[in-house]
Amino acid sequence: MGIENLLKSNILVTTVDAVVNWGRKYSLWPMPMGTACCAIELMSTLASRYDMGRFGAERLSFSPRQADLMIVAGRVSIKMMPVVIRIWEEIPEPKWCIAMGACASSGGVFDTYTLVQGIDQFIPVDVYIPGCPPRPEGVLDALVKIQKLVEQDSIKKRK
């Protein structure tokens, strides 16, 4: 009874990256940074009709320490931006960020003294969702794009 026979029928050979990323991409825990009306669309995306749970991301993490995806949904003022940066830094690596809607991506219609003109000036954004607010399909599309980014992640790349 050689071990070779068992290997043939029960063991698959793969890389750690592939397994880890496969698990990670179907169990993203988003941190909702909902500051405005986009957060309402985000709630709709999570609810039964669009059901973000189908993509494995239904468990919102209201603590940044357990999250791995931040969704900035809504306009961010200059008084709020330091808080957003702090929360972003509290999320452990690896982490991804979605700028949801026109305001988070570029300031949107609020080209005024009080609004940050795009959060990407201060935190790295992986996927931008256009729209004011974006439809839930847009959020799901961004989530799939984040999953593709997660696939490309590698333990070797990180220090």
Binding site: I78, K79, M81, P82, V83, I85, R86, D111, T112, Y113, T114, L115, V116, Q117, Q121, F122
Partner: protein, 164 residues
């Protein structure tokens, strides 16, 4: 058409404060000077005939480039539960002397509303218990709802403190 008794009373009791009164769709506004504003409110609140016991809102108008006597007007909206009626008092505040007396001791709800007017228009309320900024960050310079404040700011949205 008969004028509301509040107008006649204020005209009679505070002749040096009264400027004019306006009516729009049944709502009256009385434009007054700022010097005796506290006495006017004390009268409106405590007089048996009126009892304006509820301060609905305090806001401010910047009349820059609009031919008004003074640049600013602090606007008070009052409501009386006794007579179920509303009144609007506009207190004119000149640009050189942006100071007005606080009404916090009459209505406690005035506290945050006066802080908001101070923050956004730079009107100083004498007698306010804690006159500090309420909406903009604590280190903000300027009063952004003044009409001569640049819409895109003076670089606030690029330079601000980052929490570390």
């Amino acid at each position: 058409m008969n004028k509301r008794p509040e107008i006649e009373e204020i005209k009679a009791r505070f002749p040096e404060s009264y400027v004019r009164d306006e009516e729009f769709r049944g709502d009256i506004s009385i434009v007054v000077r700022k010097e005796r504003i506290f006495d006017i409110f004390k009268f409106l609140k405590e007089d048996e005939n009126f009892l304006y016991d509820y301060l609905v809102d305090i806001t401010c108008i910047d009349y820059l480039k609009l031919n008004e006597i003074e640049r600013f007007a602090v606007v008070y909206h009052l409501y009386t539960h006794k007579n179920n009626s509303r009144i609007r008092i506009k207190a004119l505040v000149p640009e050189k002397d942006t100071v007005i007396s606080s009404v916090c001791s009459l209505w406690k709800g005035a506290n945050w509303m006066e802080r908001e007017v101070f923050d956004l228009f730079g009107i100083e309320f004498i007698g306010h218990p804690d006159l500090s900024r309420i909406l903009t960050p604590d280190d903000f310079i300027g009063h952004p709802l003044r009409k001569d404040y640049p819409l895109k700011g003076r670089g606030e949205r690029e330079n601000f403190k980052v929490v570390k």
